[in-house]
Symmetry: C2
Subunit: 434 residues, 2 copies
């Protein structure tokens, strides 16, 4: 018996059917928004990640040298790959480029609740628009996908911020402030003790007084955003505040405003974000970590050797999303379903096979005996796969030109002429025939 | 600009939409047959493949040592993984176990037409039945999936054989014959020169006269299978021939017989096959290699430490299947489709957004301006995404309570009251409204 690899999971049919239903919803919503599916490779050159995130990233990668001497890594995220793909065909692609895909990614990190070394995400991105309408479309997509899953505004909350509000405020303090380090500190704020957090801000160059003032600014309510503009007195903060408002206005037109809360301490850890950023949280707080996040990354395409091209995206991950859906009671039932089991007694295979083919041809999920089992064993199996209706094709019945249609919930059954089954019905049940 | 990894592909939306349509067909057919989707990891312990296939397999693997010191490999095929999963829950799973999944696999091998280092397969397997009905269900699934794709009996052919017919015939020759080596030679027969092929048979222990006789036996037509039984005089060949006939009879009941041809030189290279084996070929021969194959592997579960459990499966691969579909003219069109583009002129976003939401809510694929572009640029974009209908939401029209609905194929357009759009229609077109 062989072991699974730690942090990698097997999904058996019951659990998989729930995951598939959720993935289908995430994807069908993306399709309705006009996002187009792309297919992407599992391996990329390791240097792509090192260039983007620094050499420390290698510790988190499943990276190795392939048989041809290439340094490659199993993709830890999609964004660099789609950026590479956009750059490769930047001229010929019609803009904006709106892409989605669902697939696994791999990171060598601590396994914990809702976090595995192999994890699935649906990535949804728009390349080629710097307009607030693009940020809003990404927010609206995410909100629509979650409400399609059955979640409501009571369940989730998009905490929305703008990197340049944070950056601009930090830049307005006296002294040498390391903006990147300070933003990373803000990003970890909720997870840290106050002392640790202030220690990180101090490392980033903020005095105790400045740190306290900065914290106060982060609490600024939405109606008072002009206070931040006044405090900073910089064009950077002014245009960031304007952009943030425009994005929220556009989200309002698309019905997504009600899910958004201003939250200036939402920073997103990744260095490549440049504008509006947001994270989805469980409104009840029961799921304590961010469920997923997204935002604007206008510099990445140019950084990958393309012409400058703005971009914004979001990437719901299935594992944390399942925690939220389970908390809210909307995770799909983890069970297989079957429309028909066609039960064979005696040598009735030709007729049973005809019935099976007719029912499958109408789009039904149909199983029949492939193991030469007894009546009892077949009925037990039909029950184990949650068959709704069992069609019993028995030798004696057939001699009279009949089959028996049995409703598995009530146990009711009726004989019907085999000639007229399934007849005109797409999906005949006991109730249709009795 | 970064390079792709050799043998790995990017799929842009046009090509991806065709691939997705084909995968959907392969999967929907499997669902109708009552196969259940499973989710499987991308990494397994390398030893699992070495134990099964010998240490030479490592040369074909993307294998490495992970950060935790585990020897792991990117899965080169699914069968060992599903065998591991069956063994892990063998008691509790209801039998037969009928599973499918579509996903990429990875092998470091020569890149050629229809063969890449990253390749997609839909694996379909039945565990827990040794009955011919199970082999037949797998054949019928494969035939149904291909005909659903638009292929006909003129296009493809399942060459069906039985490992024990070959094995039993070889065993009936005088002298020491290495059955495995001889079967591998047969498997390569079509690709080799006659001399090379006979050389391999000689290496396997067959004299020239025996090799010639063996070749003659492989040509035995279906009606004369009893001649093989008589020649071998062994129970092994007799029961293999009986089993082969029973599988073909069962396939006949399921409508798959017409796609099957007896072909005793179809051996399937993999050592783990034990009974009926088959390969799908292009009937015209234009696609020269086997498109995909399948068969029975009754010993694998026990070899993986489980209770003995028979199994049979098939695994259509997307790349060779695309060659066949393209040859037959049934590969789906590689283009994106769009139901509506909602064009905004002036400050009409709130109304345009309402129209967009209504149309998306009815399940349509809808794009709108997210880049603040001109009328002309928007219309050009709508054309580039093959929008069927453009809904023009202009300031002047709106002042009169109207929007314009334009059919993009004919160019015809009509004004309709914005209040009644989209109205009762799920998917209103120019023709509905004019």
């Amino acid at each position: 018996m062989y072991d699974r690899t730690k942090g990698f999971r097997d999904f058996y049919p019951g659990e998989m059917s729930a995951r598939r239903a959720v993935i289908d919803t995430l994807e069908e919503t993306a399709v309705r928004y006009g996002f187009r599916e792309v297919g992407t490779p599992a391996l990329e050159r390791t240097e792509m990640y090192v260039d983007k995130s620094g050499v420390e990233i290698v510790e988190e990668l499943y990276s190795f040298t392939d048989q041809g001497g290439r340094d490659v890594a199993m993709t830890p995220e999609l964004t660099p790959t789609v950026a590479r793909m956009v750059v490769a065909k930047q001229q010929e692609l019609s803009k904006p480029v709106k892409w989605f895909s669902t697939r696994p990614f791999w990171r060598y990190e601590q396994v914990q609740q809702g976090r595995f070394r192999e994890f699935y995400q649906t990535n949804v991105d728009i390349f080629g628009s710097a307009e607030p309408a693009a940020d809003a479309e990404v927010l609206a997509y995410a909100a629509d996908a979650l409400t399609e899953l059955g979640l409501t505004s009571e369940d989730f909350d998009f905490r929305v911020s703008h990197r340049d509000v944070l950056g601009g405020l930090l830049a307005s303090f006296e002294g040498e402030v390391d903006t990147g380090a300070a933003i990373r500190a803000v990003d970890k704020r909720e997870k840290l003790e106050v002392g640790e957090y202030h220690g990180l801000l101090a490392d980033a160059g903020l005095s105790d007084g400045q740190a306290e003032e900065f914290d106060g600014l982060l609490e600024t309510p939405e109606d008072d955003l002009d206070d931040l503009v006044a405090f900073a007195g910089s064009e950077q903060v002014e245009s960031a505040v304007t952009n943030l408002r425009n994005v929220l206005d556009a989200a309002d037109d698309l019905g997504a405003r009600e899910y958004c809360t201003l939250s200036l301490d939402t920073a997103r850890g990744l260095d490549y974000y440049t504008g509006v950023v947001f994270e989805c949280f469980d409104s009840t707080g029961e799921v304590s970590r961010s469920v997923f996040g997204g935002g604007r990354y206008d510099d990445l395409i140019e950084g990958f050797g393309g012409q400058p091209m703005p971009a914004v995206g979001v990437a719901p991950g299935l594992a944390p999303l399942s925690l939220l859906c389970q908390r809210a009671g909307v995770w799909p039932e983890e069970r297989v379903t079957t429309d028909y089991y066609v039960l064979q007694i005696g040598d009735t295979r030709p007729t049973a096979a005809r019935v099976v083919r007719d029912l499958r041809g109408r789009g039904n999920v149909v199983e029949t005996d492939v193991a030469g089992r007894s009546f009892g064993a077949q009925l037990e199996y039909a029950d184990s796969i949650n068959a709704e209706t069992v069609v019993i094709v028995g030798e004696q019945d057939l001699a009279e030109g009949q089959v028996t249609v049995k409703d598995m919930e009530s146990g009711d059954q009726a004989q019907v002429p085999v000639e007229s089954f399934p007849g005109e019905h797409e999906r005949p049940t006991y109730d249709d025939l009795a």
